[in-house]
Symmetry: C2
Subunit: 332 residues, 2 copies
C-alpha cells in the first residue's frame, strides 16, 4: 500500500527538492494546511501581508487565528503584478509575521519569475518573516521557460518558508480533501504537529488514493497543461474582442481576472442570472470585490475560471459580450 | 446516492429528535466539529467549564480559539461523577461561555442519568451558556433503562445546545473522518457555516460511505453494545481482583479509568514497555495525568480502552496484575 508522505517526497524529489519525512505534514486539503499554519504562527493582531486580489478564504483562516491582513495593492493595468520590493517593505510593521502569496496566483494567474521569487524570499529572510507560499497551481504555468516554480529550491530560507500544497488542482481531485504543509522549520513543525495530532488524521481512503495519484505518468501533467493553455488562449482572445474589457494574459493557474465595462460586477452577475438569456443560456463568473481586502476595490472586475472545454468557454464569452451590450443599454 | 445530511436527520429522527437540514453541519470528524465550535463561540480568555478527567484534545481546540479550560474536579472514589449543581455553578464567572461534557464519558465511562442531564441543561439555560454535549459514544450505554441519551431532546435549550457527533465510534469507522455539529441556534449555525465554507467540504467518498453506514440494521447496535458490555465486565472483574486497584464500573463508552497502586502511571508504563515481559508480552494503557487540567492530578490513574476481544483483555489484565507486583517489588 503506497504511503502518502513518501509519495509526496518522491514528487518533490522530481522537482529537485529533497524533503525529510518530518518536513511534510499531511492535511485535510490545502484549506486545513492554511488554517493550521495561521493558528501556528499568528497571535491576535499580528499581521500578514497578502497581495490583493487574493483567494477570499485566506481572510477566514487569518481571522480564525486572530490575525489581520495587510493588503499589497495591485492594478489590472499592471496585470496584477505585485513583486515590488519597496511596496512590500513599506507594509512591514513590528506586528508583521508573514508574507502570504499564491504562485501561480488565484484569482489573477500571475506567475513570479525567478528574480521575483528570489526577491520575495530575500525580504522574508531580511525581516525574519514567514513566507507562506501557496503553490497548489504549481504545474499550471504556461511560460515553459519558468519550469515548475517552487520556493522550496531556496535553501537559505528553510526557517522562513511554509509551502501550502494540495492534490486537488494537480490531479483534479478536489473532493479528496488531501493536502500538506511543507516546512523545514523544526519549531513550526512541532506546532503544526500538535494541531495535526489533536484532530487525529486525514481521511484514510483518501490518503491511499492520493498516494496512488502521485504515481501518475508525467504525460498526465503535459496533457493537462496543454489543455488548460488552450482554454486560457480561447478565453483571453474572446475577452479582448469585447469593447471596454481590460485583460492581461495570465501566465498560470486556471483563472483570468478582467475589468468589465459595467458599473458593478455583482449587480451585473445578478442581472445575467435573473434578467438575461440567449437561447435559454446565460453565463456566470465570480465578482471581483470579495477578492479584495480594500473596500471599494474590484467592483467592476471579475474572475473567470476556465474549467470548461474550449468550445463551451468560447460560447460563455460570447454570452458575456452579448450580456454586456444589453446590460449597458438597459443602464442608459 | 445517499445524502449524508439526510441520513443523519433520519438517524436522529429514530431517537425522537427532529432536525431541519440547517441544524446539521457535516465536519471532518468530531475533532473538526469541536475545533469549529470553539472558534465560533470563544474569544481570547473566555472560559469553558469541563469536568476532569477529560479527552485531552479538548485543550488544543479550546486553546486554538484563545480560550481557557476551567476544570470541574471529580474523584475516582466517587466514580468520576460530576453532575453537582453547586460545584458547576461555583465555576461560572463573567467570562464563562460554555459547559463542555462528554456523555457517555471518555475517559471515565460516566453516563448522566435523566435528572443529571436536565440539571446541566438548566444550569446552561439559567446562566445563558452554551452547552457543548459531545455524544459520540451515545450508543455505548450499558444501563438499558437509560436508553440512548441525547441532550437534543430538551427543546427549551435550543439556543444553548451544541451537539458534537461522529461516525467513528458508532460504526467503528474512525478512519473515515466524518462527524457533525448539531445545533438549532441560528446565529451559531451562521458562524459555523462560515468556517465550513472556508474549508470547502468534507471528503466526498467518506461522506457517501458514512451516509450508507447510517442505514445499517438496528441489530448492528445491539450486537456491538452486547460485545462491549461483555468486554467491560471482563476488564472490571479482572481489575477488581488486583490488590490496591480502585475502580468503579463504568456505565458507558469503552473505557475504564482506574487508580493503580503505583507511584506514577507514566513511569510504570515506561517500565512495562522497557523492562517487563511475561512470555514475551506486556501491556499498554493511557497514563492518567494528561486527562487532567489540574497539575498533579491523575498521576497514579490510567485509562484502559477495552477495544480488544474479551480473551485478550483478560490476558492484558493478568499482565497488568503481574506487572504491578513486580514493579512494586523493584521499587522497594
Amino acid at each position: 500500500m503506497p504511503v502518502l508522505i513518501d509519495a509526496i517526497r518522491d514528487y518533490y524529489g522530481k522537482l529537485g527538492v529533497e524533503l525529510k519525512p518530518e518536513d511534510v505534514l499531511v492535511t485535510t486539503g490545502g484549506s486545513e494546511a492554511l488554517l493550521l499554519t495561521c493558528l501556528s504562527i499568528l497571535d491576535p493582531y499580528t499581521e500578514v501581508i497578502v497581495p490583493e486580489p487574493y483567494y477570499p478564504n485566506y481572510t477566514t483562516f487569518v481571522h480564525a487565528a486572530g490575525g489581520v491582513i495587510r493588503a499589497l495593492p495591485t492594478s489590472p493595468e499592471e496585470g496584477y503584478r505585485y513583486a515590488d520590493r519597496n511596496k512590500i517593505e513599506s507594509l512591514i510593521t513590528k506586528n508583521t509575521r508573514a508574507i502570504m502569496i499564491t504562485n501561480p496566483g488565484n484569482p489573477t494567474g500571475v506567475v513570479l519569475n525567478e528574480q521575483e521569487m528570489r526577491m520575495i524570499a530575500d525580504v522574508a529572510k531580511k525581516h525574519d518573516l514567514f513566507l507562506i507560499s501557496d503553490e497548489v497551481y504549481r504545474e499550471f504555468c504556461y511560460d515553459d521557460s519558468f519550469g515548475i516554480p517552487t520556493m522550496a529550491k531556496f535553501r537559505d530560507i528553510d526557517d522562513n518558508l511554509v509551502i501550502i500544497d494540495s492534490v486537488s488542482k494537480r490531479f483534479s481531485a478536489c473532493g479528496a480533501r488531501v493536502g500538506c504543509v511543507v516546512t523545514r522549520n523544526p519549531e513550526l513543525q512541532q506546532a503544526l504537529l500538535k494541531f495535526c495530532q489533536s484532530r487525529l488524521s486525514v481521511a484514510t481512503i483518501d490518503q491511499i488514493g492520493a498516494a496512488k495519484l502521485y504515481g501518475v505518468d508525467q504525460e498526465f501533467f503535459a496533457h493537462s497543461k496543454a489543455e488548460y493553455r488552450q482554454r486560457r488562449d480561447a478565453v483571453v482572445r474572446k475577452l479582448r474582442e469585447i469593447p471596454g474589457v481590460l485583460v492581461e494574459e495570465p501566465m498560470g493557474a486556471f483563472y483570468v481576472m478582467a475589468r468589465l465595462p459595467v458599473d458593478d460586477a455583482d449587480k451585473f452577475q445578478r442581472w445575467l442570472l435573473q434578467e438575461f438569456d440567449d437561447h435559454g443560456e446565460t453565463v456566470m463568473f465570480a465578482p471581483g470585490a470579495p477578492f479584495y481586502e480594500t473596500p471599494g476595490k474590484g467592483i467592476n472586475e471579475v474572475r473567470i475560471a476556465y474549467v470548461l472545454n474550449s468550445a463551451e468557454l468560447e460560447r460563455a464569452m460570447d454570452l458575456l459580450a452579448k450580456g454586456i451590450v444589453r446590460y449597458q443599454a438597459e443602464q442608459m
